[in-house]
Amino acid sequence: MIRSREVIPASLEHALIANRVLAALASNDLASQESQDAVDDGLRFLGSVLKGGQLASQRSIEADSYKAALAYGEGVKAFELVGRPGQNDDPTPYLEELLRCASALREHAGDDEKAVEDLKNFFRTIRDVALASTERPVETVSW
């Protein structure tokens, strides 16, 4: 059997990406190199989420599909928690809108406050969900 031990699992990596986007949005300096790099990574993450959704609908297994699928799973969870207006079941329009908003921010054209707030809510949820999934039990009792 194969055992895998990861010091930095994919979910912790996703938490790091989400936190950097949040820090960039909180810094009020989206023009700095650091903020731009963070938004670029956020864009890549959203791209990976959408790719995971595509692969899932095509049932296609590819070299990086597991990582994309994990990102998609987290993206859908965020959609279920914060982005489900009107009980719409399809997360794709919501995720595509986030991608559009993040791209606009990257091009310094993101002045839509609601869209920025949606982006913050999404990445805050990703950060918290992803970080929580790496938690260890505080105590184990068995008898």
Binding site: M1, I2, R3, S4, R5, E6, V7, I8, P9, L12, E13, A15, L16, I17, N19, R20, A23, A26, S27, Q33, E34, D41, G52, G53, L55, A56, S57, Q58, R59, S60, I61, E62, A63, S65, Y66, A69, L70, Y72, G73, V76, K77, F79, E80, R84, D89, D90, P91, T92, R127, L131, T134, R136
Partner: protein, 482 residues
């Protein structure tokens, strides 16, 4: 507002960092020389990188959020949590490996394994055999250990932190592959049982040659996948909607169909990769060491009392044994009336019946259907990796009988006569192992009859294993010195 203040997080980090670094040094002192050198270097490097990452990030955050104490508090706590998670992972996942290695390392078989691997793994690697009290064989491999983790931290750092981490990473060069083979302590004196290790080595050959990746893309079977999603959507969510009179909530009503489908896809993805990697390792092992791999697996499954059911990590045992036996058939075995062919031929109908009766449901059904449809194509892509070293029936017939003759006489088969040169030559390790299995499966009573009556049966078997270990070790020494 954080329930724990940032000062506490940072102090706890310092304490844990110190404890873990001390533990690594203590465990290193208990290890035999030359064991897991690069793994230890990598662990030290990661802990140093985590410390650099946190210290520098906190300094940068203080400057960035000087006017926003709330965000500074949240960011500092987040970074400390990440650093603590990494330390926690090292403590929980890697230190037990070092601890286990302080026990016994199998020096007798290591040189042969090392030589075999160099045929298939072009990059540098460090291999450690780890005795385990968990009755299990397992492979663990890390490509670019430490540098990949540090690179990841670099990607989430400010420029100053990134430069410091890059410098740290560039200061140390480690072997490309850091790998561990786990084997049950109970098998340490059985050369016969340890043949399962060939399968575990197959995992390294797969990883190093990216065999699995070459088999992609694969499309999951549509009808069983859709059925899985529909069943999951309608599955009652435990503990919810259980009030009398209230409707039973299902996964679909709590989550979304997209969420359920995503989870099904993730788990099928994981199942499929694991199962195919097991099949790759099975095929590589059977070609590398021939029937010895089948026999060792058959005994291992028996010892495990393995039910003929698939798991998240493995296809059903009977399916695997059938695949292995059919591969042996394709390698020319089972085509004669020899004793070994008779044993293998007798096993095939039983294994086929077992494979037919295995029950697959949920993810296992999706993956089994997917693999079944593409199996011929998968096998055709796996075989070329090992075809040049396949221990087929003619290689068996050419090498094993001479070794077996010595073994039957109670002699460690270290050297055999090479008919072509008329010289004594080191016996092949694969022939030694197969001779051991043939003797055990076809004429063990004859071997036991050479002992005095008072010697217990299992001690006689232990003697056979000692002869095999001796032959493996000594033939390897001869090969190196000749």
């Amino acid at each position: 507002m954080q329930s724990i203040d940032q000062k506490t997080y940072l102090e706890v980090f310092e304490q844990k960092l110190h404890s873990i670094q001390k533990l690594i040094s203590d465990l290193e002192r208990g290890l035999p020389r030359g064991i897991s050198d690069d793994f230890i270097k990598g662990l030290k490097l990661i802990t140093e990188a985590v410390e650099t990452f946190l210290r520098r990030r906190v300094a940068n955050l203080k400057a960035t959020f000087a006017s926003d104490p709330k965000e500074l508090e949240a960011q500092t706590a987040f970074h400390a949590k990440v650093a603590l998670r990494i330390l926690g992972a090292i403590h929980q996942q890697y230190l037990p490996l070092l601890h286990a290695e302080t026990q016994r390392n199998e020096y007798l078989i290591y040189p042969s394994i090392d030589r075999a691997l160099r045929l298939f793994v072009a990059d540098s690697f460090e291999l450690t055999l780890v005795p385990s009290f968990e009755y299990n064989y397992a492979f663990e491999g890390k490509e670019n250990f430490a540098s990949s983790e540090i690179r990841l931290l670099e990607g989430h750092s400010d420029q100053g932190t990134m430069a410091a981490l890059t410098a740290l990473r560039n200061n140390t060069t480690l072997k490309r592959w850091i790998t561990f083979l786990h084997f049950p302590v109970a098998d340490r004196d059985s050369a016969l049982n340890l043949c399962v290790l060939a399968h575990e080595l197959g995992h390294l050959v797969d990883e190093a040659n990216k065999i699995y990746e070459k088999l992609l893309p694969i499309e999951l079977d549509k009808s069983s996948f859709d059925e899985l999603v529909n069943v999951r959507c309608k599955t009652p969510a435990a503990g919810m909607g259980s009030k009398p009179g209230s409707p039973q909530l299902t996964f679909e009503s709590i989550f979304t169909k997209a969420g359920v489908r995503a989870q099904c896809y993730i788990s099928c993805n994981e199942f499929l990769e694991r199962w195919i990697r097991e099949i790759i390792a099975d095929i590589l092992a059977i070609h590398a060491i021939g029937p010895a791999s089948y026999f060792a697996f058959n005994d291992f499954f028996a010892y495990m009392g393995a039910a003929n059911t698939p798991s998240k990590s493995h296809p059903a045992p009977a399916f695997r044994l059938q695949l292995i036996l059919e591969e042996l058939k394709g390698m020319g075995y089972m085509g004669s009336l020899s004793e070994i062919d008779s044993v293998l031929s007798a096993a095939l109908p039983r294994v086929e019946a077992g494979a037919k009766s295995a029950i697959y449901k949920d993810e296992a059904k999706v993956v089994q259907e997917t693999i079944k449809k593409g199996l011929a194509g998968l096998l055709a892509k796996i075989r070329p990796v090992i075809s040049g070293y396949s221990f087929n029936a003619s290689a068996y017939n050419e090498t094993v009988p001479k070794v077996l003759k010595k073994l039957k006489a109670g002699i460690a088969p270290i050297e055999v006569l090479d008919d072509r040169t008329g010289m004594m030559t080191p016996a092949s390790v694969v022939a030694i192992l197969n001779a051991g299995w043939e003797l055990y499966k076809t004429d063990i009573a004859g071997f036991y009859s050479q002992f005095r009556a008072e010697v217990p049966k299992m001690e006689r078997l232990g003697n056979l294993n000692q002869l095999l270990f001796k032959a493996v070790e000594a033939s390897e020494i001869l090969r190196r010195w000749k």
